[in-house]
Structure formats: C-alpha cells, structure tokens
C-alpha cells in the first residue's frame, strides 16, 4: 500500500473546528439559499427587504470574520481546515473583510439603481451573495481544486449578473463575452494546475510548496509551463494586460452596480489567490516566475494608462484604469518574495483601491437616470454646480486613484514602490512612476469636466437625486479614502498581520 493512500482517513466527517474556520463563508452561503426561498414569499414591491436581509447576512459574516481574526491569532498553528483545502488564516480573513465591505456597499446602493432600471429582482441579491461566497472561498483557498471551484463560483455568478438586464443588448453581449473569455481563461488556469499537479503530485498548496522546496519537484520545463499558464488564468481574472480584452466591454455593458462590485471584489479575490499561490506556495520558483510577472505588470501599467487616455465614457475609463491599477498591485507581487513589504503593499493597495473604486462607481450608480447610465463624459459636465458634495467625493476618488496624498491611494503606490526599490526592481518602480504621471491626465480630466461651467445649449442631463443610502455609501468610501490616507497605521498594521499570518508557511 502506498504512503499516499495510507494517509487517507476512512470516511471522517469534518469536525467542528473545520466549520469554525469556514464560518463567514458558511453564513453567507446559507444566506444565499435562504434568500432564494425568501424571494418566493416577498411581494414584488417589497424587494428592498431582500436587500436588508443581505445586509444582515453580510454584517453577520463580517462579525464572524472579525471574531476569526482574533481566533486565528490565538491559534497560530492552525494550518488549514478541511484536510488542508482551506486556509484559516489572517490573510484570508483580511481579504474577507475587504470583500464583505465591498459587497455591503454594493447591496446598499443597489435597490434604488435597480428600481430605476426596472431590474429589481430577488435573484440579484442571491447572486451577489453567491459571488461573495465564492470570492471569500477563493481568498482562503489552499488547494488548487478549491481555487478552481471558487473562481468558477464567483465567475458564473458574475456572468449572470453582467447579463442581468435581459432586454439590454449590451448587457447580454457583455455577459456572453465575459463567459466565453472567462471559460477560455479557466481552461488555461486548469491546464496550469494539471501540470503543477503532475509535477508535484499534490493539489494542496502546502504540499506543493513542500515538494518544490525540498527539491522533489525539480525545476522542470513542464512545471514552469504550468506556473505560467496559471499566471495567465489569474491575470485574466485580475484583468491585467494582455489578458484584459474583456474588461472594458464587460464593465460598460453590465449594470453599473454590478460593475462596481465586479471591478472591486473580483480583483481583490483573484489577487488574494494570486499572492497566496505565487508568493507563498511558489516562493522557490521566484527567479522563474518573476520575469513573467514583471512583463505582465509593465504591460498592464502602460496599456491600461495609455488606453484610458482616449476614453469618453467613465465606465470604460475606469475599466482601463483598473487594468493599470492591477499593474501597480503586481509591482507588489513581483517584489514580494524578496521583501515582505511587497505583499503588505499589495494588500494595502487592494483595500485602498476597493474603497476608492467602489466610491467612484457608486457615484455613477447614484447619478444614473431612469433606464440610462450617465457615464459619458459629456453627461458629467458641470456636475459640481448641481451636486457639489457628490462631485467633490468623485474628485477625491479620482485623486486617490491617481495617487495624491492625503488619500489612501497614495500610500498604496508608495508601499509597492518601496517594496520594488527594496528588492532591487528599480526599473519596475520607474515604469510605475512614468505611467502614474500619464494617468494624471485622464483622472484630472474627469475632475475638470465636473467643475467646468455647464454648456448653456447642451442637453441637460437628468441626474438623480442623491438618496440617503447612496449618500451614505459615498460618505463612507470618502471617509475611508481619507482616513486610511492620513492614519495609515490603522490599515497598515492589519495588512502586516495578514501578511505574517499567511499560509502556507514552510
């Protein structure tokens, strides 16, 4: 009998501690199923209740995440639950916190937007919860199988959400495009996983890390092809160039509240998995994968920023800016094995980016008129004169994305550039600087437009009134962007703890 098979326990059910490690995901997954049932008995006019239920579920999951943060701290030797398939660590819980915050904000701004576009169905909230569950599972996934399945869980939910407007051709097109290209990328990810599995004999990240570290899996061309194919798959999910083709179309076609969620949460979750796999499971292959990551990183920064320059739609501009931001986060990833600051910077950047970008999309969402997204540049001209506070918030988000202090975006950039310099990747930092300078053009263009005098003869756009919920979301994201930009330590210490607690550890 082989050693491997001998290790297999006979039909042992998961224990209580396994479930504890998965508590936020279990709560959210359970809420997803319950919400489906609630949808059946909720009258159509009362669907806001479903949003309220989702909020309760997300808050509960957030509560358990916070509890888990301290529990995981008390159990420093927890090395994953469910036979090592899932990592119960502060890294995953940090990402959970970011994801749940994003989901909460999206759910809060959704009802009024969906009502205005006539899309208010219960399935929306179910799918948001399912996607969030998938993202949280991805954040904690410690085996290739769980990574793949949670990627698919979140992707399939998002395919449907992108096509949520069933009569809108652009929405349907976006969904189909996303689905076809997403399936294509999944196949690459899978083939990479197959090769890694074949080379190391395991699908659990910890075992893979051990196999590579101990030299059992020699640095073989087949293994490297596998690693590169996995990078392709992840690069697609984080929308890094040159695997970003879907991003602008899907962001523009999908309903804006979905775009807000997708642009932030998918990127955060996929980056969590990317960092866990590359920085913590493959650190011994760093010399090999570094080149590939640096290539993707530079290409994303250059392509994203240059393409964003010529856009005339806010949603498309933010899509290209998201590609560029993925490039900046990749700077942190590319320097992570040399310097812990790389991972910390990437985590900080992710949190800062999600607050800021969500705020920007929230502004577009709450401004949108009946049945129409006001995302053309022409339609925000003079916004500041009619909606001074919303415009000021949008300006702040643009400045944060461009990396001006005193916003959180500045420290994100600062931390990843520091990591790059510390680990000797000076050219990467220089590329980052050059492209950041370019990015100021298109971010400030939006601000300039909002503060320009509205044309007298131009079509007057029907900006919606700011509701309490929309205002609250914008206020929250604004406050977060500023607070984390000044009191950096608040977020920085948490990100440091997340980096230090990350599994797998050799």
């Amino acid at each position: 009998m082989m050693a491997l098979l001998a290790a297999v326990p006979t039909l042992t059910p998961p224990t209580g501690s396994d479930i504890v490690g998965l508590l936020p995901e279990v709560i959210l997954g359970g809420a997803f199923v319950i919400l489906l049932l609630l949808d059946l008995i909720t009258p159509a006019s009362r669907r806001t209740w479903l949003a309220a239920f989702s909020v309760v579920a997300i808050v509960a999951a957030f509560g358990t995440t916070v509890w888990g943060w301290f529990d995981a701290y008390n159990n420093p030797h927890v090395h994953g639950v469910f036979f090592g398939a899932f990592a119960y660590d502060r890294f995953g819980l940090f990402i959970n916190g970011v994801l749940l915050t994003s989901a909460l904000l999206v759910v809060v701004i959704s009802p009024q937007y969906l009502n205005r576009r006539g899309l208010h169905y219960g399935e929306y909230y179910s799918l948001i919860l399912a996607a969030t569950t998938g993202m949280m599972l991805l954040a904690g996934a410690a085996s290739l199988m769980v990574i793949f399945l949670s990627v698919e869980l979140l992707s399939i939910s998002l395919y449907i959400l992108s096509g949520f407007s069933r009569t809108d051709e652009r929405s349907q097109e976006a969904a189909l495009k996303y689905l076809l290209l997403g399936g294509f990328a999944s196949a690459f990810l899978l083939y990479g996983m197959a090769l890694v599995y074949g080379e190391t004999g395991h699908t659990q990240l910890e075992q893979i890390a051990i196999a590579i570290h101990s030299g059992i899996a020699t640095v073989d061309p087949l293994l490297l092809i596998g690693v590169v194919l996995m990078l392709v798959g992840f690069a697609f999910k984080v929308s890094a160039a040159p695997f970003h083709m879907w991003t602008p179309d899907v962001y523009q076609g999908a309903p804006t509240s979905v775009t807000a969620f997708m642009s932030v949460a998918t990127k955060v979750a996929a980056f969590a998995a990317l960092i866990r796999v590359f920085s913590f499971a493959f650190p011994d292959l760093y010399p090999q994968w570094q080149t590939a990551v640096v290539f993707v990183c530079i290409l994303s920064m250059v392509w994203g920023n240059l393409a964003a320059l010529s856009q005339t739609s806010l949603k498309r501009m933010l899509a290209y800016s998201g590609i560029a931001q993925a490039g900046y986060i990749l700077i942190g990833v590319a320097s992570s094995p040399h310097d812990a600051g790389g991972t910390i910077g990437a985590l900080f950047y992710l949190a800062a980016y999600s607050l800021t970008n969500l705020g920007a999309f929230a502004v577009i969402t709450i401004m949108s008129g009946r049945g129409e997204d006001l995302d053309r540049y022409a339609s925000i001209r003079g916004l500041a004169h009619r909606r001074p506070y919303v415009a000021a918030a949008m300006a702040l988000f643009m400045l944060s994305l461009a990396g001006f202090p005193p916003t959180a975006g500045f420290f994100g950039k600062f931390l990843v550039f520091s990591a790059a310099i510390k680990s000797g990747l000076m050219p990467l930092a220089l590329w980052g600087i050059a492209t950041s300078a370019v990015s100021i053009f298109y971010y400030l263009r939006v601000v300039l437009l909002m503060y320009a005098k509205p044309d007298a003869d131009a079509k007057s756009y029907e900006w919606s009134k700011t509701t309490v919920s929309g205002g609250a979301v914008v206020a929250f994201t604004t406050a977060g962007t500023l607070v984390f930009g000044v009191f950096v330590t608040l977020l920085y210490t948490v990100a440091t703890a997340a980096q230090q607690g990350a599994l797998p550890r050799l």
Partner: protein
C-alpha cells in the same frame, strides 16, 4: 497498450479537428461527441472507471444533448466567412507550438523520462512488483475495487466525501447558481423592465 492509446488518440484528434473545421454547428457538436467518447475509452484504459461513466453520462449524454437541442432550437446558419484568415494562421501556429512544446518536455524532459519517472519521485511507487503500478489497463476486477487503489469508484467516492468534501460542497453551490442563472435569464421578461 501504447498502440491502442495512439489509435484512440488519433480518433479523438480527428473528432476535435472536426469541431473546429465543420461549417455547420450541428456537425461540430457531433464531432465533439465523438471526441468525448474516444476520451472516455482512454479514461477506461487509465483505470478511471468512474470518470468513464461520468464522461459518457454527463458530457456526452447531458451536456452535448443540451448543445444539440439549442442548435436545433436556434437553427444558426453556417458561417459564410472563409475559414482561412489571419486568425487561422495564428491559431495554427499556436496549435503547433503548444503541442510541440508540451510533447517535447513530456518526452525528453527531466521528470517524465523513463528512468526518472515522476511517480517514483513524488512518492508513488515505481516498483515493477508493485501491483498498483503494474496494474493492467481495463482492469476492474472486484478484488482491485476492494483493495483501495487509485482508479476505482469506491476510492474516488470515499475521497470525495472526506478529503475533498469542501470542493464537493462548493460544486453544490455552483450548480445552484447555474440553475438560478438559467431560470432567470430565460424567464419571460415582464413588461415593467425598462428597455434601453
């Protein structure tokens, strides 16, 4: 045994090429069914009996029937565009490169050449006397089934509910999401939905 693998493999490739080159979607679908069937035979050779059954029942049986059904429903026309253009050249080069690269590394690489076989290195046995390693193709005698070796339904099933319970549970959510999506997307659209 290798000869059989090659023959079945060639047939699978023929089916795959048929998928890409057929002008009628229906022919593509039927070629894919053929290719899937050939792969099922390979699974059987590789002692993956459960996967053999799943491949035939789920893939060929359910998924491809769904495809054929949709094709019949939508009745799409054949593509009127010449197959050969720039993209085709790119695709052709991609096919040749990926295949050659992978085959070359598999055949001449460090880890899969005969004497240095990966299975031996990562812990699985490479002993000619080991019954698991020298197991015959198509071998699914009851004795083997009970001995807990790779490739039988009981082992796979047992693992699925213990070590791989979490992935298994995730698939249940996944299927639920897919079901909701299919129902939502194809449900009749009420008049209240604003058309933009």
């Amino acid at each position: 045994m290798t000869a059989l693998i090659i023959v079945v493999g060639i047939l699978a490739v023929v089916g795959a090429v048929g998928v890409v080159l057929s002008t009628q979607p229906l022919y593509s679908a039927l070629s894919l069914v053929f290719s899937i069937g050939m792969l099922a035979i390979l699974y059987l050779i590789l002692n993956a009996q459960l996967l053999f059954a799943v491949q035939l029942i789920v893939y060929a049986g359910a998924v491809m029937v769904l495809f054929v059904f949709i094709i019949a429903l939508l009745n799409p026309k054949a593509e009127d565009r010449p197959i050969l253009d720039v993209r085709a050249v790119v695709a052709f080069v991609a096919v040749i490169t990926i295949t050659a690269a992978l085959f070359a590394t598999a055949h001449n690489g460090i880890t899969y050449s005969g004497s240095n076989f990966r299975g031996a290195v990562v812990g699985a046995s490479h002993n000619d006397q080991d019954p698991a390693y020298t197991k015959h193709a198509f071998d699914f005698k009851p004795a083997d089934v009970n001995s807990g070796q790779a490739g039988n339904v009981q082992t796979v099933g047992g693992q699925l509910f213990t070590v791989f319970l979490l992935p298994f549970e995730i698939t249940s959510l996944l299927l639920l999401v897919a079901a909701i999506g299919a129902v939502y997307l194809t449900r009749r659209v009420p008049k209240t939905e604003v058309d933009t």
